[in-house]
């Protein structure tokens, strides 16, 4: 990431990305021809309500779509076309160069192994010639970097011995140990209490600052995305409704759907009665 000509190219360039599920009545498109870029070191927020296709978009980038889903279009990551990679090659990219953080850390961690073993083994699977001892040290360092106190002792604990927020830190430690170029976080704080959410968002910001990794934040929460992202993609029912810098989209939304969404967000610091919806009541 040092050469200047590389810096001009986006880290991620998505063109015509479509995800479809074949059904008896023909293919149902859940992601419809998306075009967007993520700049190097940038933070892109993909926002939408349920059914918008935002999570399918992240899974499509990771090559982790459910069985039967058809992906078309181009996903260029650091100059390489991901859609052309074989599964084995994609596995090398996944976790190593692109890491993912999910909503529910408990379901992403194996309850039978200590968190240290899981971080270390994930690391060893991507780095040849690393000893167990070295990997363990990497795990402890990664846990220290996500501010897990007493990491040298906690490394031998099992997932159930951590709180929800601490488990999410463990997941982030696991992604960090790989020093990825891109972190995709899919609703990473949705299951967390608000005070813990604030800590995890601070942590993600700190990691971006320290490592220069790009971030894609998938979320339904417009307040969260406004604090994290510098660029926004708004999705609805598989379509890209609007995109632009976060400031432009929040200050001057062009699409009626984006305006409706922004109107509907309850504000903690705003007067009551401003809660508006485009239709007075739900579709009848």
């Amino acid at each position: 990431m040092t050469a200047s000509h590389e810096d001009e190219r986006p880290l991620l360039r998505v063109r015509g990305l479509t995800v479809a599920f074949p059904t008896a009545a023909g293919a149902t498109e859940v992601v419809k021809s998306l075009d967007f870029d993520l700049a190097r070191g940038g933070a892109l927020g993909i926002v939408g309500e349920s059914g918008s296709g935002k999570s399918m978009t992240s899974l499509a980038i990771m090559g982790l779509l459910p069985k039967g889903a058809e992906r078309t279009g181009s996903i260029e990551f650091d100059g390489a076309e991901l859609t052309a990679l074989k599964e084995r090659e994609m596995q090398a990219v996944r976790g190593d160069r692109i890491a993912m953080v999910f909503q529910d850390p408990l379901s992403s961690l194996n309850p039978y192994y200590t968190v240290g073993t899981q971080i270390a083994e994930a690391y060893r699977s991507h780095r040849t010639g690393v000893t167990r001892r070295q990997a363990r040290r990497v795990a402890i360092e990664a846990m220290e970097r996500v501010h897990i106190r007493d990491a040298a002792r906690r490394v031998d604990h099992y997932p159930h011995q951590f709180s929800g927020g601490m488990r999410q830190r463990v997941m982030i430690a696991m992604t960090l140990s790989m020093e990825p170029d891109l972190i995709i976080a899919d609703e990473p704080t949705t299951a967390l209490d608000v005070t813990v959410q604030a800590q995890i968002l601070d942590l993600l910001a700190e990691i971006r600052r320290d490592t220069g990794a790009g971030l894609i934040l998938i979320t339904h929460d417009l307040a969260v995305v406004s604090e994290v992202a510098d660029h926004l993609v708004v999705m609805r029912e598989g379509d890209l409704v609007e995109q632009g810098t976060a400031e432009r989209v929040f200050c001057d939304p062009r699409e009626p759907y984006t305006r409706m969404l922004l109107d509907a967000v309850p504000r903690i610091d705003d007067e009551i009665g401003l809660l508006k919806t485009t239709t007075a009541e739900e579709d009848r």
Binding site: E49, E227, A264, R267, E281
Partner: protein, 290 residues
């Protein structure tokens, strides 16, 4: 509302302990105090929001007040009479005056029952006549909560999440309760649907004059709906006050920490958006005039 007025609900020194089993064969049973000396009042026609993070005891408190779980100790008075020791018929009668709306509309609605059967169930259960007949009664209720009354024979799965929550609200309204306990009732909804349901809850309260005990973790939502706010942490209420006092001049350190952690859209962005929106509407008006 004067402080002298008798509250609709007065809960005094509520305690709820659960038995927690220790590890191992000889593990001893410990007691977990989920609700620890909680006192609160809900006045007629107001919305008391009970807020807190997970494990704070807010949902257990709601269930104690609804008499869905038994108290370890404490008193509950409803409309001036004690209800904490009610059993049998008297408890059923209390439960018709206090209704609950839950977070997940689908799991709280019987998937095999039509809207008509769901909405009239509280009356049928209490062997009360359904005013005007089940069909007409259901249609009228559906209309009031913003659902298409022609869909009264449909099943929960045929509705969206927001519509299903409206069915849950209609069911709560069926017995004309004095108090509705809403436990994270809008938390699982998409933001646009959430706004509609919040507006619906406010409108229904304006029309009927009942009270809400509104359990929520989302402080921005609470700001839109509460008259007063009680903040819970680790089984205790740390602060109670009028909405604006709690949001603008929180007294307790935990309340301050909670408020500081809430993500917010930058006020200057919101201000710019309102200016741009006003300018856009003005442009559209001028174009229409031309």
């Amino acid at each position: 509302m004067s402080d002298a007025a008798e509250p609709l609900l007065r809960a005094t020194r509520l305690v709820k302990e659960f038995n927690v089993h220790g590890g191992g064969l000889l593990g001893r049973t410990a007691k977990l105090r989920a609700v620890d000396d909680v006192s609160l009042e809900v006045r007629a026609g107001e919305t008391l929001a009970l807020v807190g993070e997970s494990g704070s005891g807010k949902s257990t408190t709601a269930r104690l007040v609804a008499r869905l779980v038994d108290l370890t100790s404490g008193d509950i008075e409803f409309a001036g009479r004690p209800v904490h020791a009610l059993t049998g018929k008297a408890l059923h009668a209390y439960r018709s005056e206090v209704q609950m709306v839950f977070q997940d509309p689908y799991s709280s609605l019987n998937p095999k029952h039509s809207v008509e059967r769901i909405v009239t169930a509280p009356l049928v259960y209490q062997k009360r006549p359904v005013p005007g007949g089940a069909r007409a009664f259901t249609k009228a209720l559906m209309e009031r909560v913003g659902l298409n009354p022609d869909h009264s024979a449909r099943f929960p799965a045929q509705f969206s999440g927001g519509q299903a929550q409206r069915i849950g609200i209609a069911r709560a309204l069926a017995v004309a309760p004095k108090l509705i306990i809403a436990d994270e009732a809008v938390s699982a909804l998409d933001v646009s649907v959430q706004a509609q349901v919040i507006n619906l809850l406010r409108r229904l309260q304006d029309e009927e004059g009942f009270s809400y005990l509104f359990i929520a973790h989302d402080l921005a939502v609470v700001r839109q709906i509460a008259t007063r706010v009680a903040v819970m942490s680790e089984g205790r209420i740390v602060e109670t006050g009028d909405r604006d006092q709690v949001f603008e001049e929180p007294r307790d350190p935990y309340t301050r920490k909670l408020l500081a952690a809430v993500p917010r859209i930058r006020p200057e962005w919101d201000a710019a958006r309102r200016r741009n929106e006003a300018a856009r509407l003005e442009r559209e008006r001028q174009e229409a005039d031309r």
